[in-house]
Symmetry: C2
Subunit: 196 residues, 2 copies
Amino acid sequence: MAKIKAAINGTIQDAITKKAAALFREKGYKATSMRELAENIGVEAPSLYNHIGSKAELLQNICFKVANDFIFQLQFIEDLKHTTVQKIDQLIRFHIQMMLQVFDEVFVANHEWKHLEQPYLDNFLTQRKSYESRMVQLIKDGIKNNELKNIHPHVAVLTILSAVRGLEFWQRHKKEISAKVLENNIAAHLLNGLIK
Amino acid sequence: MAKIKAAINGTIQDAITKKAAALFREKGYKATSMRELAENIGVEAPSLYNHIGSKAELLQNICFKVANDFIFQLQFIEDLKHTTVQKIDQLIRFHIQMMLQVFDEVFVANHEWKHLEQPYLDNFLTQRKSYESRMVQLIKDGIKNNELKNIHPHVAVLTILSAVRGLEFWQRHKKEISAKVLENNIAAHLLNGLIK
DNA sequence: TTGAAAAACTAATATCCGTTAGTTTTGTGT
DNA sequence: ACACAAAACTAACGGATATTAGTTTTTCAA
């Protein structure tokens, strides 16, 4: 059998992880077998182990790569010299873009993290909790300086995060509507419910 | 081993289905074994088959019961003599209440439906698509009669559905905040982004 | 061209899964 | 108390799973 083809600027391991993300998204982690992943790549299952450590490791890499990207961007936005509304708007748009650009990976991080093994599971949940807290703080800032209505900050954060997650459904309608229209509609819908 | 205890006004099958919903929600359908379900009920795995047909059937019952409840309520709301805004408000609140009252079942219908087997899978997806379409029509009505802004109806529907789904996260915070506060905050957040 | 490293292959293992068959226990109406 | 039905049990099946061991093929630098 021919060698596994890596993308132009990626390792073979990256290629396997990418395909794994697609399958984990489509069928779920537990329902995706290594034989199936191998077949999709064009190789026998045991050959995968020349490049990766284990199935569990694939899930770990996907989940923590996504978590890292979000945390990095949040840090970047926090440090900007903008109004709170501008920051929230930018964060919402980043979420939307991630959803559209690395859909499989974000979906897996959102839905399949529960199959992480310890200590990765606790680690992941801690990171997510911290991310939520920092978003709550952003909303609190906006309320304090009178940019936002006096809504319940934590409820607002979860409403925003969940609404953005709804972009999962839009993968099916990608042709009917542009990314920019989506971004503007959703950001407006969510922000208009908050702004004074 | 003692007999399986049914709830006061339910069959034994209902009791098994209820516990299955809890486990499917917590661990996922594929990751939940019949041996595990049996242990949780206090019985050996084969004993379950005196009361149920198969694992797949458990998932079917959970998913279609939930779908049915939602469709029934949507029909009820459609027939009301209310403004469109009132109808949408009421529908949002129903979603929130379902999420809080039959959390496990709604969660499973939202996340584990992909493990349904044919023809149930297609059936379920058809029902869901129809439900979405009818919500889109509701929004369109509201735009037409000038109650709502000229937003993209389908985007609005998915934003609402996803935001409500965010209540999943609130199971952890149930003690900190009352159902009524949640309901009011989320409904307001989502509606204020739509109303003219 | 050759030789070593990388990566494919085949074969196999132990474990888990849903489910069936056959048997024993339990509960209930007479 | 007894008989019958309901529902528990044990044993076992065939099949899928992730992964390992051992071997052959491929690739590529010298």
